[in-house]
């Protein structure tokens, strides 16, 4: 019996220790969860900070004298065009295949590839330009994919003289070739016999053609000229020219056909764009950034996936990105005096023909080249922009779209919304708390606190819905009245209070607080009625009948869903938070302090303003900070009640997009692991850190307050 009892006791003790351990572990779980949450978000954003990764894979001897080389989409085969008028294919398995370039007489003197690698142009021994189309057709055999090359002759043009330059574009199988001649350049189009002469008055030194086959950029020494050839029935536009700082040595057009890159003898690569000129209807060439470096630029190659580019110099090659104007890294072990270099189609590799007569291949992982600290937080000059700007525009219709991922519009939008919300809710919440804790009749206090708590519990989707579909149109129709009300309401209340004090003292005392509250409510109701009543009259008297039209004429844009509406709706959500915390702070002030103050002859207001408010001020600070934290992070209200346009404007009549709304709208669409996904996670992390700082501050201040009153009460 005793034995059994002691074993039960042992078991009870063991269970007790086990449970204590489990509960301690469970309690620590929260801390772990928060730490893990932050660490995980950091982990997801870290790749944004990491640079490009370039690894050398292999080099192989190139057959004959190679002129150009490219990879297929899967980087399985490398194609080399050699001067023996043959397309050599180095297969993944290590074998070789050769396809003859039909009718071309060796030795070839030049070769060019279209940007998509689906067309080849060569100049043969007779100085004839020949164009071929090339395809790698996937075939399926036994569940395995094999690539079958297809080389087809397209067209040829005999040329009179020596061909200096060759550039080719293949847009929807319309092949356009640009050749450099002694006094400029000529354009050859399939189906047209006669070349179109582009006169420069001097020999071209570099040329590039856009993917659309319409725009041609030609440099002759220090002069850069842009031609618009027109498509079909379109009239060609007059050429536009600009002067370069040094003679051009290499050119290419970045994906999107907006920017032309010019590499020069001094080693600098400059970006050029066509912009509207100072004279209406005219255009001019504008320099939109540059990449500095030493050593003449011998070749430039664009990526067909984004705005990345490859800059080749005699002794080195670097990968850079146009949006960030940043060099991402140097290609390791790059051969000296490379003749040709190119990205693989998916921008996951580089091929180059070295001066050593070998074909070199690298694998490439650029990670997130389009973002940098600069592009996230500072103005950037995007393609088609005249000057650096802060823009958020994450997705476009085509792959040529340049993502504009500046967080500034979102940050500004977030704080604009929070500011308008606090402007309304901080005074309102604190004043309401002061009234309830210091002046209110007891019965009101009992009712008001749970009611305000209920207000805090209202789902934000409900507040946002009512604000957007009911309040926003109402404010738009009665905009002047609303603005009037904001000004008139406090004034009217003060005036009515003055009138109230003029009542005979005895009467004022006798009627008590409830009647006073009724009078306040009546004053507010009358003010609201008056404000909306004189709205129409004022509009016709002062603003020519319609305030909105007047605003529009005054150059102030008005969105129906704007910061004013959001401020009100967000304020609705924030008031209860500020109220509850402020009320706690006020009620925690020891009553002995107030009693002492009253005993010394202070009025109730003097006691409140000189004793209670200063004593509770850290708590009020904590209340407003917590309210700010909520306003910054609130999602559904801003999602519904702002237009969600990421505009950078501080006007109360404009909408905005906040960080939270942007995450809610765009994260579900973002592919896991891509740049937009990581930038949005970074946004979430920023939100987390911001609210973390704000809340920690509030918690610490509140703790200090508790300690102080602990002493006072003792």
């Amino acid at each position: 019996m005793a034995h059994r009892n002691s074993s039960r006791l042992h078991r009870a003790r063991a269970v007790d220790r086990l449970v204590a351990g489990a509960i301690t572990a469970g309690g620590s779980l929260i801390l772990l969860a928060v730490a893990f949450l932050m660490a995980f978000l950091v982990r997801e954003t870290l790749p944004l900070m990491r640079g490009a990764e370039l690894g050398s894979v292999a080099s192989a001897p190139a057959p004959a004298r190679a002129l150009a080389a490219f990879d297929d989409e899967y980087r399985e085969n490398s194609m080399i065009i050699a001067d023996d008028a043959t397309l050599h294919i180095l297969t993944a398995a290590g074998g070789t295949r050769s396809l003859a370039l039909e009718n071309a007489r060796p030795p070839l003197s030049a070769a060019a590839l279209s940007a998509d690698g689906r067309a080849v142009a060569v100049v043969d021994a007779e100085q004839t330009v020949r164009v071929y189309s090339f395809r790698m057709r996937p075939t399926w055999a036994g569940g395995r994919r094999a690539l079958e090359p297809n080389l087809d002759y397209v067209d040829s043009w005999p040329s009179g003289g020596q061909i200096r330059l060759l550039a080719l574009s293949a847009h929807e199988d319309a092949h356009v070739v640009v050749i450099g001649t002694d006094d400029g350049a000529a354009v050859l189009r399939v189906g047209e016999d006669a070349p179109r002469q582009l006169a420069l008055g001097a020999a071209a030194t570099a040329a590039a053609i856009a993917r659309d086959g319409r725009q041609v950029w030609i440099a002759s020494e220090r002069r850069l000229t842009w031609f618009d050839l027109g498509a079909g029935a379109d009239e060609p536009v007059a050429p536009v020219a600009a002067m370069l700082a040094a003679p051009a040595t290499a050119m290419t057009v970045v994906l999107g056909d907006v920017t032309c890159l010019v590499g020069d003898a001094s080693g600098t690569v400059t970006a050029w764009q066509v912009v509207a000129g100072s004279v209406a209807g005219e255009r001019e060439l504008d320099r939109a950034g540059s990449f500095a470096g030493s050593g003449q630029v011998t070749a430039l190659a664009p990526s067909e996936r984004d705005k990345s580019l490859l800059i080749v110099r005699p002794e080195r090659a670097t990968v850079a990105h146009l949006t960030t104007r940043r060099e991402l890294g140097e290609v390791p072990e790059f051969p000296l005096n490379a003749r040709f270099a190119r990205f693989s189609p998916r921008r996951d590799g580089i091929v180059a023909l070295g001066g050593d007569g070998r074909l070199h291949r690298w694998s490439l992982d650029l990670r997130h080249p389009e973002t940098s600290f600069t592009s996230l937080f500072l103005p950037v000059r995007y393609e088609g922009f005249v000057e650096p700007e802060l823009v958020w525009q994450s997705t476009g219709g085509t792959s040529a779209f340049e993502p504009k991922l500046s967080l500034m519009p979102l940050l500004v939008g977030t704080f604009k919304g929070a500011l308008f919300a606090l402007l309304f809710s901080a005074p309102c919440g604190v004043a309401a708390a002061l009234y309830v804790s210091q002046f209110a009749p007891n019965r009101l206090r009992v009712v008001a606190k749970p009611l305000v708590e209920l207000m805090a519990a209202l789902p934000s989707v409900v507040i946002g819905f009512v604000a957007a579909l009911l309040l926003a149109p109402l404010v738009q129709v009665n905009l002047l009245g609303t603005l009037l009300l904001v000004v008139m309401l406090p004034i009217a209340v003060v005036l009515a209070a003055a009138g109230w004090s003029l009542l005979p003292r005895g009467l004022g005392r006798r009627v008590g607080l409830w009647l006073e509250l009724g009078a306040v409510a009546a004053t507010m109701a009358v003010t609201i009625a008056v404000a909306f009543g004189i709205d129409g009259w004022l509009e016709s008297a002062l603003f020519g009948g319609n305030f909105l039209t007047w605003l529009h004429d005054a150059g102030i844009a008005y969105d129906q869903r704007n910061a004013l509406v959001v401020g009100f709706a967000l304020g609705f959500a924030v008031i209860p938070i500020i109220f509850t915390l402020a009320e706690d702070a006020f009620s925690n002030v020891p009553p002995s302090l107030v009693s002492a103050s009253l005993a010394l002859g202070a009025t109730r207001w003097q006691a409140a303003s000189t004793v209670v408010v200063p004593a509770a001020s850290p708590g009020l600070f904590a209340a407003v900070m917590t309210g700010l934290g909520r306003a910054v992070g609130e999602t559904m209200i801003v999602l519904m009640a702002t237009g969600n346009t990421p505009v950078l404007s501080l006007s109360p009549f404009n909408g905005m997009r906040t960080m939270s709304a942007c995450i809610a709208v765009e994260l579900p669409e973002a592919a896991h692991g891509d740049t937009l996904y990581r930038v949005l996670i970074l946004t979430a992390l920023l939100l987390f850190l911001m609210t973390f700082v704000i809340n920690s501050l509030a918690v610490m201040v509140a703790a200090r307050l508790r300690r102080r009153f602990g002493r006072l009460a003792a």
Binding site: L29, L37, A432, E453, F465, W500, L517, M640, L667
Partner: protein, 536 residues
Amino acid sequence: MSGLRSWLADGVAQRWLSAAAIMLSLGMIGGLVVVVVVISGAAFWPRPLVEFTLADGNRVLGEETEREPDTATAGRIRTRIKVANREVLGADFRWVPDTEVVARRLPADAWLLERREYGAFHGFPVALSVETGSVAAGDPAFPSTLGTAMARARALLAEERQLLRRVDRLHAPVAALERKITAAERRGRDVTTLRERRDAVAAHEQAELGGVLEKLPAIRERLSRESLLMRTTDGVEKSVPISAIVRAMPVNALSTSQKLSVYASRWSEFLFDEPRESNTEGGIFPAIFGTALMVMLMTIVVVPLGVVTAVYLNEYARDTFFTRAVRLALANLAGVPSIVFGAFGLAFFVWTLGGALDRLFFADVLPNPTFGTGGILWASLTLALLTVPVVVVATEEGLQAVPQAVRDGARALGATRWQTLRRVVLPYASPGILTGAILAVARGAGEVAPLMLTGVVKLAPALAVDLQPPFLHLDRKFMHLGFHIYDVGFQSPNVEAAKAMVYVTVLVLLVLVVALNLTAIALRTRLRRRLRSAAV
């Protein structure tokens, strides 16, 4: 001057201003509730069909929805009329300026048809063609014949649905075997026996299926045979299949009690039926169900976690740096924006955890994700993380209400800490725990932003609970009341037509959240009273 100073010192103006602030706050919440209740309360009441004769001789039959000053012409009032007949007129609504109206009347023979497709139909019945023959609209037997025809159509539709469900059920074993075969093939195993079994099951399916599919054309033929010929107020005749009619009524001739029954039937359809017409009509049952299930799953996770944390902080831990860190973490958890939890839920639960689960257990259906996409499990877990502080705070309050003497008494009798906790402290603190659970549920039911990232959809093809094993499908996407409001109110192609529905959804959500909160408040008030008496 001194008068002003003493007046300011007296503080009447300041008192009035602060009173105005609390009145404004209370007015705002009251205003919001009243607006929602009034608009949504009226949404389902049958409105009269008004026939307007316009100056150009055209006629318009519809419900008056709102009147406002014409922005184009000053001083002119215009009325927005819901004209329905979407497939005839192209739009549901039409503005009519008062100046163009020549005559206005309430035709007693105008009928409102609520249809499964194309929205409502306003018009005058001409004739009803049923299996037994044709009945003219003037015939006294018309309403009852229409009623029986509609009941018949409903029964046939139910039968059709059941048959289709049986087809699905018959195919399920074959589909399961097909999946097994693909999985086995991928692993390079021999699949001959599996193939044989599949063929046997498929043959059985074909045999059964023949009998089922045979019945379908007959039902569909019977359904297509009965229709109601309607004439619009413009004189266009349109035949409406009986099976397409949900409700039919001569609105203007209804008595109050008939209107009440229509009102009640619309409410019950709203609460218990599936949505139609891309969520702008029908009911919101899947959204209510999804919300409830998600909140339940969340509660299962959050209550133990929150209670353990509160017990740790209150009963086990001393005030150390570590516990202060835990409290700071809790305060931050409460203050971190919900969208951040959503982003975390998507990045961690869905992509990382779900992706790993898929690779481990559902590799045979990849690249189609099972858990590697948003689902009700991930949404509940995300919300659980979000609502932990709510449970902790309420539980702590409950624990603090337990008098120290009770604990000391239990320990003095020889109980271990765990025995004291389980037998004495926790039962005593149970109202606090319950309050915490209720508040967490209320918070979870109203939260939308994190769900948008972790698995809510505008239209879920199937509920997460059904008769297919394993009965509870944690990987399924779900519908949610709050998201329904956002989606239908802002993303719907026909926002104007859906507005009334959204207001009613808002009311449902509001009632749910307010009721939960009131319960919690009442519970807590009782608890606080006990706390006060315990302190004495």
